[in-house]
């Protein structure tokens, strides 16, 4: 139980900047997910918190204490690795008890706490097993027990379930979530699956190219993405590049009210916020996919962008049919920042003129 503070944390490997200017505060008992595409610097941030990588800029504070230059063995953190990293020459009990033995606990104390940890992760009686007699899921539970038994202030997890199948991954994810709530342990969880992040996190930190794009509650990330990257990364989003001139966003046949300064802009519309009418318009229906609960229409706009729109049911329309699309709710971005959100200006209903 502790707070973690990262202050303009940065890491360069030679000339490549893996992480740049990361500022983040993780509250006591909070579960934060680092989410981002491959190579976005998630692991590097986590490894700097754990002490496995020295930052080239910034500081790491735990409970206000600067640990930037402490080695891993002297930090109150514990890390769970993607490949469980169990020591194959020790038994399960040997693995879990290793850290306790190093701390000079008596044999009886070690045994007792190892048993308690095995109970916590749902593997009672597995102590004498060899690590190669464990399934993938069991091995990860043992690794979790090995971390938990030391009662770390902060638990770090780097895609711990990535090598497991979908079903097991979901179950372990639930268990970790329950444990985290029960033990009230501060946790940083790295993943590149947005489902996992949405299911687990109190707060999600979206990273791209070594920078934090947005750190926010899951629902806020979806409803109010701060950058086009987040907009495209969380859920589905249609992104249409265009131009603002005279208070209007113009792209091909689409014209929307946009009371902002002139210049280039990026229009972002969720598929469920895109109204479609068939029969007239400059768009062309490409394909309709019926998912039962709803249908998705893919539409080619005249300037070449293909957008997706959710429909309550599959329309009776053939590919190639003329289509008009009208954003019901949209956001404009410029220079990676929000320029204009249609919802926030009541009365300024979007005007769509489809020539």
């Amino acid at each position: 139980m502790a707070t973690l503070t990262l202050q303009s944390l940065g890491k360069s490997f030679g000339t490549t900047a893996a992480v740049t200017g990361v500022d983040l505060v993780v509250g006591d008992g909070e579960l934060v997910c680092l989410l981002g595409p491959s190579g976005s610097g998630k692991s590097t941030v986590l490894r700097m918190v754990g002490g496995f990588e020295g930052p080239t800029a910034g500081r790491v504070l735990i409970d206000g204490q600067d640990v930037t230059h402490l080695p891993p063995e002297r930090r109150p953190t514990s890390m769970m690795f993607q490949s469980h990293a169990l020591w194959s020459h020790m038994t399960v009990a040997g693995n879990i008890g290793f850290g306790l033995r190093l701390r000079g606990l008596s044999r009886a104390d070690v045994a007792q706490r190892v048993d308690a940890a095995l109970d916590t992760v749902g593997l009672p009686g597995y102590g004498p097993r060899r690590t190669d007699q464990l399934s993938g899921g069991q091995a990860q539970r043992v690794a979790l027990a090995r971390s938990l038994v030391l009662e770390p202030k902060i638990l770090l997890l780097d895609e711990p379930f990535a090598s497991l199948d979908q079903h097991l991954r979901e179950r372990l994810r639930e268990e970790v979530r329950d444990l985290q709530k029960r033990l009230r342990i501060t946790m940083v969880f790295v993943t590149h699956g947005q489902d996992e992040a949405l299911a687990l996190a109190d707060r999600i930190v979206v990273m791209d190219r070594g920078r934090v794009q947005q750190a926010d509650r899951p629902d806020r990330l979806y409803r109010a993405p701060a950058t086009p990257f987040v907009a495209g990364f969380i859920g589905q989003m249609n992104l249409i590049a265009g131009e603002v001139a005279g208070g209007r966003f113009v792209q091909g046949a689409m014209v929307l009210a946009a009371p902002v300064a002139d210049g280039p802009a990026l229009l972002a519309v969720r598929p469920e916020a895109l109204a479609v009418s068939f029969g007239t318009g400059a768009g062309r229906l490409h394909r309709v996919t019926d998912f039962g609960s709803h249908a998705v229409a893919e539409i080619d706009l005249p300037e070449g962008t293909r957008v997706k729109a959710h429909l309550p049911e599959a329309p009776d329309a053939a590919p190639g049919m003329p289509v008009t699309v009208t954003p019901r709710r949209h956001t404009l971005y410029r220079d990676d920042r929000v320029l204009w959100v249609s919802d926030t200006a009541p009365g300024a209903a979007p005007v769509a003129v489809d020539a």
Binding site: G50, G51, F52, P71, P72, E73, T77, S78, M79, F81, Q82, S83, A85, L86, W87, H89, F98, G99, L102, R103, R130, A143, R146, S147, L150
Partner: protein, 298 residues
């Protein structure tokens, strides 16, 4: 057509039998080699040392006189002792250098590590006689170190050349590359994450080495040590070129007894004693490897 089907069926029907035949063929060749090239000549040599002519020079009979001489002769025993001493000291120094060096090379990346690795492996490609010559030029009397020291006004070193330390330094230098290569192979089985996990639960460098790395590279250390020990026992070049004239290591001793003293029976006796030491070590080695296999397979 039918033929292949039948033989295929037979093979799948008795996989043991066909596997056994293949196994026997695979084993037969090395066994034949060992028998003709090693066991047979060794047997002959042992026989020669135990089947001696009588005191009057006629009528060969069983006798342990040559061994009695070896083990009562102070000079022979001194030579055996210096061989054991040199082997033990060289192996210990070698491991003390090679283990930290290979751990460094395994867990560091970048230019510095690459340069160190190249330097450490380099002597592998240099014949030992050249190394011995380089040794004399650098550490010998009026060698490079001597001249540098003299030029900056410091007293000369006591050169290890022609002392018991000469061969030790030569051996360590010569065997370092192979030892490092073997240890690196063993260390490749220790994952970076396993080491990081140990650091994470609170193990410092020493504890990580003792509890995580050492148990995994124990067999490699044993293999490397065996190469060194067996090689040193029969070494010739370094003790001959760099070592003292007396006591001498078993290699030069045998050569001199055979070629200069012209006493082939005593030379063979020395060879058999050397062989028995190596065989004892080999037995220990095979047993440890087997024990380790059992532990791994358990």
């Amino acid at each position: 057509m039918t033929d292949t089907a039948t033989s295929g069926g037979a093979a799948t029907g008795r996989p043991d039998a066909s596997g056994r035949v293949t196994g026997l063929i695979l084993v037969a060749l090395p066994v034949a080699m060992v028998m003709t090239m090693i066991v047979w000549p060794i047997g002959l040599a042992i026989l020669d040392t135990l089947w001696l002519p009588g005191p009057d020079g006629t009528g060969a009979r069983f006798s342990v006189a040559s061994y009695r001489f070896f083990f009562s002769d102070g000079y022979s025993l001194g030579n055996l002792w210096i061989t054991i001493w040199t082997t033990a000291v060289s192996t210990a120094i070698l491991m003390a250098i090679a283990i930290p060096l290979s751990i460094y090379l395994r867990f560091r990346t970048g230019r510095a590590a690459a340069v160190v690795q190249a330097l450490a492996i380099f002597p592998l490609f240099v014949p030992s006689i050249i190394l011995a010559y380089a040794f004399v030029r650098v550490l010998g009397p009026n060698g490079m170190v001597d001249i540098i020291l003299a030029n900056i006004g410091l007293p000369r070193i006591r050169s290890p050349y022609l002392t018991v330390w000469g061969p030790v330094i030569g051996f360590v230098w010569d065997n370092l590359p192979l030892t490092v290569v073997i240890l690196l192979a063993g260390l490749s089985g220790v994952s970076t994450q396993a080491v990081e996990a140990a650091r994470d639960v609170g193990a410092g460098r020493i504890a990580t080495f003792r509890h995580i790395i050492l148990p995994r590279i124990g067999p490699s250390i044993l293999v490397a040590a065996s190469f060194v020990v067996l090689g040193l026992f029969s070494a010739f070049t370094f003790p001959y070129l760099l070592g003292p004239a007396a006591p001498e290591m078993m290699g030069p001793f045998m050569q001199r007894t055979f070629g200069d003293v012209l006493d082939p029976v005593q030379a063979r006796t020395q060879a058999v004693v050397t062989f028995l030491f190596c065989a004892a070590f080999g037995w220990f080695y095979v047993r440890s490897i087997a024990a380790n296999r059992r532990r791994m397979a358990r």
